[in-house]
């Protein structure tokens, strides 16, 4: 199944090589379009763009440190019904993992898409990206990947990777049809094209790329990166746990929250078509507020803030992939990702589940067995 191929970069730069590679995919095996981050012609912003015309591939930029949304939501939109043609989708690892969760929830399908995953260099928070990006966004991207891939880190011009990326232990895609490998390679000469599925192999068999073994430096580079990430992650878990270990502290942690629900709109795995918090259930009778206030002496408005976050944790933390889009979307600087990942670590371990790990494992709340979890039953 694994095909390891070499993609030359020496006559062009990395983005140019990727652009050529994507161009060569259009038309193979009925691939009609590619969904890939691209610098928008009208503004210095990188957004997912669905490109059918090979001539429109200039400006594709899947390596920029911009991560405006989790693309799993877009791919879910594209595959909710048969799309009538094949589409290659270029995604970050956390986008692939989120999409796997959505497929299991029947909110997306794999049949007509080819997943292209790229070693993830991480991203800045939205506002930080705007601060970082210069007049020439392509040049900004080049400076970014050169720095990361030469071992000089991702902090440039006082901007650091988003905490979600610093804590991410999945920088290499695991369920892509085609993986584009960057870590541990001499990117000025060539990069790695590797298939992870039969589907991917069938496509790359059409390309005239030479074979290439995986250099040992790659394994070491990846191991070191993951170790660094796990370090950061575990510190983050410990700090977040300590900052929220009583209801009073949790209330303080969420005190800035204005119930705008941006975090759940941005979350790729918040799967309900209609969130209960925007239904009439929470459109309380005006007199209800007075009664609450009278009973408690004082209530903060809007109400139901902690209730909202705890409910969201109960409903989706088993599917949280740690992409950080919740924090990215919060207008008030609440560390939503840190809270959700910390709790998700417990809920996912509790069910021996890991979001995005496999298409075969059922989401914990969608299966059950006769004999299990007896320890939670009874009062003795």
């Amino acid at each position: 199944m694994v095909n390891s191929l070499k993609l030359e970069t020496k006559d062009t730069d990395l983005l140019g090589a990727l652009q050529n590679f994507f161009k060569s995919l259009l038309g193979i095996d009925e691939i009609q379009a590619i969904l890939v981050p691209q610098i928008l012609p009208m503004k210095n912003m990188v957004m997912p763009v669905l490109i059918s015309d090979p001539e429109r591939l200039d400006g594709v930029d899947p390596l920029s440190p911009a991560f405006p949304m989790n693309g799993a939501k877009i791919v879910s939109k594209l595959t909710r019904k048969p799309i009538g043609g094949k589409v290659a989708v270029v995604l970050r690892p956390c986008e692939i993992r989120a999409f796997i969760e959505l497929v299991k929830l029947k909110q997306g399908h794999m049949d007509e898409i080819i997943i292209i995953g790229i070693d993830c260099l991480g991203a800045y928070k939205n506002t930080d990206y705007f601060q970082y990006v210069g007049e020439d966004p392509k040049e900004s991207t080049q400076r970014f990947y050169e720095s990361v891939l030469s071992g000089n880190g991702a902090s440039l011009e006082n901007v650091e990777l988003a905490p979600a990326c610093k804590a991410c232990e999945h920088p290499v895609p695991e369920h892509a049809d085609i993986l584009i490998g960057l870590f541990g390679l001499d990117i000025h000469k060539h990069i790695l094209i590797q298939t992870q599925t039969e589907k991917g192999k069938k496509i790359t068999d059409n390309l005239e790329l030479p074979k290439m073994g995986e250099p040992p430096e790659r394994k070491t580079a990846i191991e070191n990166l993951i170790a660094e990430r796990i370090d950061y992650r575990d510190k983050m878990f410990a700090e977040t746990s300590a900052a929220t270990d009583t209801l009073e502290k949790l209330t303080a942690y969420l005190a800035n929250c204005i119930n705008c629900y941006n975090c759940r709109v941005a979350c790729p795995v918040c799967y309900c078509r209609e969130c209960v918090f925007v239904t009439d259930v929470f459109n309380h009778e005006p007199s209800q507020y007075l009664r609450w206030s009278a009973r408690k002496g004082a209530i903060k408005m809007p109400t139901d803030t902690v209730f909202y976050h705890l409910t969201r944790l109960a409903h989706m933390s088993t599917a949280c992939v740690g992409c950080g889009q919740c924090s990215n979307a919060c207008p008030n600087g609440i560390h939503v990702m840190e809270l959700f990942r910390t709790v998700a670590d417990r809920t996912q371990k509790g069910f021996n589940y890991e979001a995005g790990r496999s298409l075969e494992e059922f989401p914990p709340m969608s299966e059950f067995r006769e004999d299990e979890f007896d320890e939670v039953v009874g009062i003795s």
Partner: protein, 140 residues
């Protein structure tokens, strides 16, 4: 803490535990008034948010109680409930809610005596834990 009378919300399924409570009543068995029964058709319909809401409103304990494994009228609602309780027991203690405040039991329709006994035991355990912190503070 001597006079602390806990409030305990119990989500009980219509077919088993509620029937048992009824039986306890008609048999004139004593069970503490601290338990507020909420009858649901099946434990499988108790969304985690009902339990969270009860705690945030100041419930000192929450009980979910339904049919014994294999006896659920809707075949597997109680197994789903068990997973949700497991889930909440992973989440709530992180925020300082003692795991013992949330309980799941199976009490069959004819178990009137067990119902009364379990309720007494539950109340004494929750009394020992003291009041839920949510009652004392402004919860946002």
């Amino acid at each position: 803490m001597e006079n602390f009378e806990p409030s305990i919300i119990a989500f009980v399924c219509n077919w088993c535990t509620y029937t048992a409570a009824d039986l306890a009543g008609t048999s004139r068995l004593y069970y503490p008034k601290n338990i507020r029964l909420i009858r649901v058709m099946c434990t499988g319909m108790v969304d985690p948010q009902y339990i969270i809401k009860a705690f945030l409103e100041g419930a000192d304990g929450v009980l979910v109680s339904g049919c014994h494994p294999g006896d659920c009228h809707y075949i597997n609602g109680n197994y789903k409930a068990r997973r949700r309780i497991k889930l909440l027991k992973e989440i709530l203690p992180q925020f300082g809610f003692e795991s013992e405040r949330l309980r799941l039991t199976w009490i069959g329709a004819s178990d009137g005596i067990q119902f009364a006994e379990i309720m007494q035991e539950l109340v004494s355990q929750i009394k020992a834990l003291g009041p839920n912190a949510a009652k004392l503070k402004m919860v946002i």
